[in-house]
């Protein structure tokens, strides 16, 4: 599973951090940081994060 966040689109609403804190986080400057290659058992949380993003900045690909 590959996760890509379009940082030109991301507005730091942080909904993904709430849905999948193991994959998405904010650094000290409130910038989004994320694990681009998360373990497969996190798929449900990652897809929930993508679905919850108000600006649809998160792309999940691969099996």
């Amino acid at each position: 599973m590959k996760v890509t966040v379009d940082m030109n689109v991301c507005q730091h609403y942080a909904q993904c951090v709430f849905e999948a804190p193991a994959v998405f986080d904010l650094d000290e400057n409130n910038q989004l940081v994320y694990e681009p290659d998360p373990a497969n058992d996190l798929r449900q949380a990652v897809e929930a994060a993508a679905a919850a993003c108000p600006v649809q900045a998160i792309l999940v690909t691969g099996r």
């Binding site: 942080a14 904010l26 679905a51």
Partner: protein
């Protein structure tokens, strides 16, 4: 008995909640057909940005269109409304006179903007609910435009801040004592109102609009104390009305949305022949993390959460999947951008009887805790989003403490 593949779920409403429900049916294994019926001619798009900045008129959908993680294989009926729904026979009648049969119905019709009770309404009066609304308003706002916003809730304050940043001269009229008093309480509402006032927005609190006089280009907005505000643009942001008329006649409780049980099954005076669930802004349901009182929660995240849960409820009613055993305990969560202020709220601060500042001060970044009967019921974070995630976890633990079985 019909084979499952021949059955159809009708999702009435094709915005965020309807789309996410359809997705959840497919991921839950539904092989029958799904028909999504939407009043707007546009495919689903994200509404929150509409009030938080000017919508890019050149290509509004590149940023706003909602994506699906899977192919939902749905039939789309857009630009049509359902005028009537017969839950005994499973028949929906559309506004073009056609009918559609269904074996289950999802009520995802959301809300429309509440309007001021005016005798006449000039063409320069706007609401902001749809992308078409936002594009029309965006065209009307220019540097120096005189703007009157009726309503000082989140939408009203977001629009006022956006217009002010564009260089408009903005007046906000609200019947309440301060901006955002209902969702955030007096202390926080007053502090946020002061920020708006410092950026040049004028508030008229404790006032109502009694009439609007003038032509389609320039009006006088008359308040109940006789104040007259000259306006090139007037925006009505005084709340919402549920789109539930189409469900009349089925024995449902349609007072303020669709009354549902905790599983989002619509509550009927007599059992409906086909199952119906409600999602998103129209679903009025009890949430055991607060109490037994059914409430509607008009938040983005709640549309996503109710979609997932309602799909499981209906799939089980249609003979698919496991019964839903855990109580549905979604944590209300929303954000608001107002000028330079970024607000993030969790829980239901509006229910609080006690407010305390947990961190920072009201003139800068701050965190406010809300309690009811001594227990935490909400948190509002202004500024640091990173803190928001931490306070959200803290609140969620408090609110779900003692609920059985374990709810996440």
């Amino acid at each position: 008995m019909t084979s499952p593949d021949e059955r159809r779920i009708a999702v009435v409403g094709a915005s965020l909640a309807g789309l996410r429900t359809a997705e959840a049916f497919r991921t839950g294994g539904w092989q029958g057909s799904i028909t999504l019926i939407g009043a707007e001619s546009h495919p689903p798009y994200s509404r929150p940005p509409l009030s938080k900045g000017v919508t890019d008129a050149a290509d509004p959908f590149s940023r706003l269109a909602l994506r699906s993680s899977i192919d939902i294989q749905a039939t789309w009926v857009l630009g049509r409304t359902v005028e009537a729904c017969d839950l005994t026979n499973g028949v929906l009648r559309l506004d073009d006179g056609t009918t559609l049969t269904a074996d289950a119905v999802v009520a995802a019709t959301g809300t429309r903007a509440r309007r001021l009770p005016l005798d006449r309404r000039p063409a320069n009066m706007h609401t902001v609910r749809t992308i078409d609304d936002a594009l029309a308003l965006g065209k009307a706002l220019r540097h120096g435009t005189r703007v009157v916003v009726a309503g000082a809730g989140f939408i009203g304050c977001e629009i006022a801040a956006t217009a002010s940043q564009l260089g408009c001269r903005v007046h906000v009229v609200t019947f309440d004592q301060t901006a955002m008093i209902a969702p955030l309480g007096h202390t926080v509402g007053a502090a946020l109102q002061r920020r708006h006032e410092r950026s040049g927005i004028t508030f008229h609190t404790g006032r109502t609009v009694v009439s609007v006089q003038g032509d389609d280009r320039c009006c006088d907005v008359i308040l109940d104390d006789g104040t007259t505000l000259r306006a090139d643009v007037t925006i009505e942001a005084i709340g919402s009305v549920c789109n539930t008329e189409w469900l009349t006649g089925n024995g449902l409780d349609l007072h303020e949305g669709v009354l549902c049980d905790n599983d989002l099954h619509a509550v009927a005076s007599t059992r409906t022949a086909i199952p119906i669930a409600a999602v998103g802004d129209v679903a009025r349901f009890p949430n055991p993390i607060f109490d037994a009182e059914p409430r509607r929660i008009e938040h983005w995240q709640m549309a996503v959460d109710t979609a997932r849960h309602a799909a499981r409820t209906l799939l089980h009613a249609l003979g698919h999947g496991q019964p839903v055993t855990n109580p549905f305990t979604p944590l209300p969560s929303f954000w608001s951008n107002q000028g330079s202020s970024r607000l993030q709220s969790f829980g239901l601060p509006g229910l609080a009887d006690h407010v305390e500042i947990l961190d920072g001060d009201l003139d800068h970044d701050f965190v406010v805790g809300y309690r009811r009967h001594g227990s935490p019921i909400g948190v509002m974070v202004c500024g640091g989003i990173r803190e928001a995630a931490r306070y959200r976890r803290w609140l969620a633990e408090h609110l779900t403490d003692g609920l059985v079985p374990s709810a996440s």
